[in-house]
């Protein structure tokens, strides 16, 4: 078992582990006592999803998945900002 096989196995294992961490974060998004808890948990899930997309891009050797990851990061950031502003002011104007 040479080093390249070990690295490929570690990337696969890392994707599965980050997926389990997403399910752990989903508990806080569902059961969080206040609204900012839920928003923070959704933001954290967005970051972890970005990590999963880049790991899958490495596993399947598809470079354009990284562009999808950039668009996903942008949409996650805009969503978090929008929800936080709506929570603070009660409107989005």
């Amino acid at each position: 078992m040479n080093l390249d096989e070990i690295i490929s196995f570690l990337y696969n294992l890392g994707a599965v582990m980050v997926m389990l961490m997403i399910f752990m974060s989903l508990f806080r998004a569902i059961a969080g006592p206040t609204a900012p808890d839920r928003v923070a948990a959704i933001s954290i899930i967005g970051t972890k999803t970005l990590v999963i997309i880049t790991l899958i891009a490495r596993v399947y050797e598809q470079v354009y998945f990284l562009d999808i990851a950039m668009v996903y990061a942008l949409m996650s950031f805009i969503t978090t900002i929008g929800v936080a502003k709506y929570m603070e002011k009660g409107a989005l104007d």
Partner: protein, 110 residues
Amino acid sequence: MIPGIVETTLDILSIVSLVLGLFFLFVGTLGLLRLPDVYNRLHATTKCDTLGAGLVLLSMALQSNLATGIRLGLLIMFIVITNPTAAHVIARAAYNTGIRPQLSERKADD
């Protein structure tokens, strides 16, 4: 000089960076689950997730060619800029909607 020593060194650095990144992502998730307050949770998860995601992406950038490396570098810069901004906006919204930090002792059963 041993042939292929640069590739072997980059592979070992990549493995170390990946394992450290996964560890920090796990610590951030644990902080999100275990800490008692929304400010504590933001404090724990934002820094740990930024560092963990940056290390995992750096682990892939150490092995890739130039175009993929530039894309991963842009992603790392984007994460480092936007993640603390989002946490700051969430904390400001929480403070302005009347949630105050817990200043008393923690409960005995928690």
